[in-house]
Symmetry: C2
Subunit: 284 residues, 2 copies
C-alpha cells in the first residue's frame, strides 16, 4: 500500500515536468556525473543506462550537444576516453572551456600563465606564454600545490591590470573514490588574495551556454539541459532561458532539491529515466 502510494507520487511528480516538454528540439548533456563517474583505473565507469540513453537521443531526431566543464585533459583526449568507455560521442559534439578560453585569449592578445592539469597544457600550444599578462586556472587537481598557487598569485598581483580567467567555477565533483575540490575553490582563493573578480569561461557563464546553443542550432526555449550540478548546470541553463533537469547521480545531494536559489524543472533518478520520458513525449 505504502509502496503503491510512493509509486503513484513518483509518477505524478514525473508527469508534471514531462507535460512541459512541448517544443523541445535539442538536449544538452553534462558529462561527468551524468554519463559516467570519473576516477580510478580506466578513468571512470559509465553510469548504468547512459550509453544507451545517448544512442536513444541520437536515434530520436533530437539535436544533441555535450556541454562540459572538464579541464583535466584536452577535449580530444577526453572524448577518446569516453569512446573507450563505450559512448557514441565525437569531438565536434562537445563544448568545453579550454578551446573557448583560447579563442578569448587570442582575441584580446592575452599571454596566459597557466595553472592547469598537465594534460590540458597542449590545448594552449598555439599561444604566446612569455611575459604573461593574465592567469588562467582550470581543474589542476594535484597541480594545485602551495608552490603553484603561490606562483600564479605572484604573477597576478604583479600585473597592473590583473586578469584572472577561470575555466568554470564549480565547488567540487564526485570521483569513484569520493568528492574532489574543483577549480572554483581555487578561483575564490586567488580572487581573495588579489582582490580581483575572475572571468569565468565555462558553465554557468551565459556566453558559454549561448555558444553551445549556437553550435546545436536551437533557441534556448527549444533546449533542455540535463546535469548533476544544481547551480552550474541547472541554474546556468535556466538563466539562459533553457529548461533544465537535475539527475540524482554524480555529485547530486538530496538537499539540492531544497536549494535556496535554484529549482530544477524536474528531478530524475538518472539520464536513462530522463531520456525515456523526453523521447516518449516526442512521439505523443
Amino acid at each position: 500500500m505504502h509502496q503503491l502510494q510512493a509509486a503513484g507520487r513518483a509518477v505524478r511528480a514525473m508527469a508534471e515536468w514531462a507535460k512541459q516538454l512541448a517544443g523541445i528540439k535539442g538536449v544538452m548533456l553534462d558529462i561527468s556525473g551524468v554519463l559516467y563517474d570519473s576516477g580510478g583505473e580506466g578513468g571512470g565507469v559509465p553510469i548504468p543506462g547512459s550509453i544507451e540513453a545517448v544512442e536513444k537521443i541520437k536515434a530520436s531526431g533530437l539535436k544533441l550537444r555535450f556541454c562540459t566543464n572538464e579541464t583535466q585533459a584536452t577535449r580530444g583526449k577526453f572524448v577518446a576516453k569516453l569512446q573507450r568507455l563505450g559512448f557514441n560521442i565525437l569531438v565536434n559534439e562537445v563544448t568545453a572551456p579550454a578551446p573557448a578560453a583560447c579563442r578569448i585569449l587570442k582575441e584580446r592578445n592575452l599571454r596566459p600563465h597557466l595553472l592547469v592539469h598537465d594534460d590540458l597544457v597542449p590545448e594552449f600550444d598555439q599561444l604566446d606564454k612569455a611575459n604573461p599578462n593574465c592567469v588562467v586556472i582550470g581543474d589542476a587537481a594535484d597541480n594545485f600545490s602551495y608552490k603553484n598557487l603561490n606562483e600564479a598569485f605572484r604573477v597576478l598581483i604583479g600585473l597592473e591590470n590583473p586578469i584572472l580567467i577561470s575555466l568554470g567555477r564549480g565547488r567540487y565533483y564526485k570521483e569513484t573514490d569520493g568528492l574532489k575540490l574543483d577549480v572554483g575553490v581555487y578561483m575564490k582563493a586567488l580572487e581573495y588574495a588579489c582582490d580581483v573578480q575572475a572571468e569565468v569561461v565555462g558553465k554557468p557563464a551565459k556566453m558559454f551556454f549561448q555558444s553551445a546553443l549556437a553550435e546545436m542550432e536551437v533557441e534556448p526555449q527549444q533546449a533542455i539541459m540535463i546535469g548533476d550540478d544544481i547551480v552550474n548546470d541547472v541554474g546556468g541553463a535556466q538563466q539562459c532561458g533553457m529548461r533544465a533537469l537535475q539527475v540524482r547521480t554524480g555529485k547530486y545531494r538530496p538537499c539540492d532539491e531544497q536549494h535556496p536559489e535554484v529549482k530544477a524543472d524536474g528531478y530524475v533518478n538518472n539520464l536513462a529515466e530522463a531520456v525515456d520520458i523526453i523521447v516518449k513525449q516526442l512521439h505523443k
Copy 2:
C-alpha cells in the same frame, strides 16, 4: 629646495598623528614585517632599528604586548627564534591564535581536524582529535597541498553542523624571497567549497584584540597598534577602539595609503621611527 619642501611636508605629516598621542599607556606590536622579515636561513632578518625599538619601549614605562597571527610554529618555538635574532621578547608577552583557539575548542568540546604547519601541531597536543567535529586551519604553507585541502573539505562537508575555525584571515605576507599566500586564502576556498562562514581566531577579530588588551591591562583608547597589514592590524585595532599606525616595511605597499576602507592614524617608515615619536611625546 625641493628636498627641503619634501622634508617639511614629512615633518608636518608626522606631527599630525604625533599630536594625537595623549593618554597612550600601551603599545601593541605586530611581529612579522614589523620586527623582522621572515624566511630564508635562520628564519629571517631583523628590520633595522627594531631590536633597539623594542628595548626603548620597555625602558619607557609603556606597557608592551606582541600580537601576532603567526601560526607556522608553536608560540614557544617562535619566541625562541626571535630571541636568537636578538629581540628582548618573552612567551608570556605574546598573544597568538593557536593558544586562543585551543581555549575555544576546549570550552565548546570541539575535536579538530587540523590543517596546519607541522611545527604548530604540538600546540594542540592536549586535545582529542578522534572523530573530528570541526576543521581548524592555520598558515600551513607547503602543507596546503591539494590532497590535504581536499581531506579538510571532506571532513567539513561531512559534518551535520560544519564548523571551520581559521587562525587569521590574512591574504599574504612577505618573506625574504617574496610574497606568500596566507591562511585567509585557504579559508575562503573552504568557505566557498562548503558554503560556510569561518570563525576567525586572530587579527582582525575583535575578541582577539580584546584579549590582548586585557593581558596588557589597558583600555582600547589607551593603546596604539603598530603593524604592516592595513586591514588586519590597522583596521582590526581601530574597530576595537584603538589607534593604529602602519609601517612602510614588511608587506606594506604604497597603495595601502589609499585603501578604500581603512585609514591608519599615521604612516611611518618603520618601527624605529614610530617608537621615537611615541616615546618623545611621552616626555613632553
